[in-house]
């Protein structure tokens, strides 16, 4: 009697746990099924390397290089912003800020991380873009640089909080050992703490990067939207996510455009998947290295 009930409960929990696995499998299956037909009308090389993205022209052209390049540029700019800002804040919070400053700053960073991306988009459109236009004398402020900066700011709290955790995992005893050998605070930070937290910090950067590359709403609003291979950071661009979001509505289900958008989605999925696996592997190795896990 009791055991049947227990079994039932166990089964329910197992179902809950495995449903996420099933969901992941489902997503992967759908992505592949809807994406692969793209190669019946365009070769993989022409698809990935083609420089013309005219999906609704007659005849249509499906070269996604401009979109990939746009994502790469925007993500690169975001990294230039979020790595120094995020790692810098983590180091400051962990090493230099007193307990009171830390108590005030940490929640602020967490709030920043939880702001919906559309709000960053609004901010980008109404404040950042006009500022860029003014500052650099651009015809239009919506461009790769604006998008990259906004994405960088968005990814900063992610990087900061994960990097701060990584620093927190570094055992106190390393710091004591370093001080006891006559090292000062700065030497201890640079030669012991940061290297010990190094792979944890890389994990933070990779996750920040995967956040930036997958972000959609903001880039849709501030990147400018032109599906052209960018030649400068001031060019308007259309990253992969923005292309999917903007065009999916008008693509006929089962049509060539539809399959091409799915192929972009698959590429994005694979990239972020690889990033996340890498982040996980690095952080596991790191915990092992610090003797925190077996």
């Amino acid at each position: 009697m009791n055991t049947t009930k227990e079994k039932l409960i166990k089964l329910l929990f197992a179902a809950a746990a495995f449903s996420s696995l099933a969901l992941l499998a489902g997503i992967i299956i759908v992505l592949f099924r809807e994406a692969l037909p793209v190669f019946s009308f365009v070769s993989p090389l022409a698809f990935l390397g083609g420089e013309s993205w005219y999906p609704t022209a007659e005849p249509p052209e499906f070269g996604v290089w401009p979109l990939i390049a746009a994502s790469a540029w925007v993500t690169g700019i975001a990294l230039v912003i979020c790595v120094p800002l995020g790692v810098g804040s983590a180091l400051y919070l962990h090493e230099l800020a007193g307990p009171r400053q830390r108590a005030a700053l940490k929640p602020v960073i967490e709030v920043l991380a939880s702001i919906p991306s559309i709000i960053y988009g609004f901010f980008g459109m109404t404040v950042m873009a006009p500022f860029m236009q003014e500052a650099f004398g651009l015809p239009i402020g919506l461009c790769a640089l604006t998008a990259g900066v906004i994405l960088g700011v968005m990814a900063t709290p992610t990087v900061a909080s994960i990097a701060e955790d990584a620093l927190g995992y570094v055992p106190r005893s390393f710091r004591e050992a370093s001080f006891a050998l006559g090292a000062n605070r700065w030497e201890t930070l640079v030669k012991v703490i940061v290297p010990a937290a190094g792979s944890g910090i890389s994990t933070a950067v990779i996750l920040g990067m995967s956040r930036a590359i997958g972000e959609t709403m903001t880039v849709l609003m501030v990147a400018g939207g032109a599906a052209v291979v960018p030649s400068s950071v001031f060019d308007p661009v259309r990253p992969m996510t923005a292309a999917i979001a903007a065009e999916m509505g008008e693509a006929a289900v089962g049509g060539e455009h539809y399959h091409a958008l799915f192929a972009i989605a698959l590429a994005l999925f694979l990239v972020t998947f690889v990033f996340n696996i890498a982040a996980e592997l690095i952080s596991r190795r790191y915990r092992l290295k610090l003797g925190l896990a077996r």
């Binding site: 390393f174 370093s178 006891a180 050998l181 006559g182 090292a183 012991v192 010990a196 003797g291």
Partner: protein, 283 residues
């Protein structure tokens, strides 16, 4: 040996070296030497909590002083004062003087990092850095400005030899220190400490996390080192204190109850509480 005044001509504190009680303990038992380090009337507070009460203790040069006592009695607190590790504790306060070669180590002119180069410390739990064996030992000399590769290699080898670890690790200097056994890690920490060429070595229960064989090796090592360095070792293992030390101080609840030659303390303790402790009646 050079006198302190010659070594530190500019560092003479207003009061000058304290020599009034030099060479004698609170009990008046002479050691025959000017102490290498000594605590004079030390009180130490963690916030409002008084962890050390009026401690006066000398570390005679080139001898091993053991500090024994039940856990929580302030042994670590005391030994960490000798290289100013407690500077890192917020809201802590020190009264009294701690002297190295007669000079107060807490005077403004004394830099904590410079002090720690002269007074090395080995901790309770082996704490090698997550770096290679070589890098661990080279770390101290490097931060202290030794850049020359050959000199560095020589220093590392010598330190590992003195820590009786060289033969075990000479073929794996480029491997992670974390791959060593606990006992080897602790000897590595000792080597790392010796590489800075300190004058005083502080050991805070260095064998607490080690097996008996590793413990025996560390004790042997301390006996080897004791004629070259001034050593203080905290231990709650009475046999260990008896085996490795020349003098023993018994701490209880933040106070020194008794201090004297190790043999005398163990054979003929003068205080009832010391006797109770060493015969295992409490603690």
């Amino acid at each position: 040996m050079l006198s302190t005044a010659i070594e530190n001509p500019e560092a003479r504190p207003p009061s000058g070296p304290v020599t009034v009680n030099a060479g004698s303990t609170a009990e008046g038992e002479t050691t025959g030497f000017e102490p290498k380090m000594s605590a004079r009337g030390v009180n130490f507070y963690y916030g409002p909590k008084r962890a050390l009460k009026d401690i006066s203790l000398d570390l005679p040069p080139r001898m091993v002083t053991a500090i024994i006592g039940p856990s929580g009695c302030g042994k670590s607190t005391f030994i960490r004062l000798l290289n100013r590790m407690n500077d890192l504790v917020p809201d802590a306060r020190l009264e009294g003087e701690i002297l190295l070669d007669g000079f107060d180590i807490n005077r403004p002119a004394c830099d904590a990092a410079d002090l720690r180069k002269r007074v090395g410390m080995v901790f309770q739990k082996p704490n090698p850095f997550p770096k290679t064996i070589f890098e661990n030992v080279a770390y101290g000399p490097e931060v202290n400005g030794l850049r020359d590769r050959l000199a560095l290699e020589e220093r590392v080898e010598n330190s590992l030899r003195r820590a009786a670890l060289w033969d075990e690790v000479k073929d794996r200097l480029r491997e992670s220190a974390l791959g060593l056994s606990g006992g080897q890690q602790q000897r590595l920490c000792i080597a790392r400490c010796l590489a800075v060429e300190p004058e005083v070595l502080l050991f805070d229960e260095p064998c607490a996390s080690l097996d008996p064989i590793s413990t025996a090796k560390i004790e042997e090592l301390i006996l080897d080192l004791r004629r070259q360095y001034t050593i203080a070792i905290v231990t709650h293992n009475m046999q260990q204190a008896a085996r490795v030390s020349d003098r023993t101080a018994f701490f209880l609840m933040g106070e020194i109850i008794e201090v004297g030659p190790t043999g005398r303390i163990f054979k003929a303790p003068r205080d009832r509480r010391t006797e109770d402790y060493i015969t295992g009646r409490f603690g």
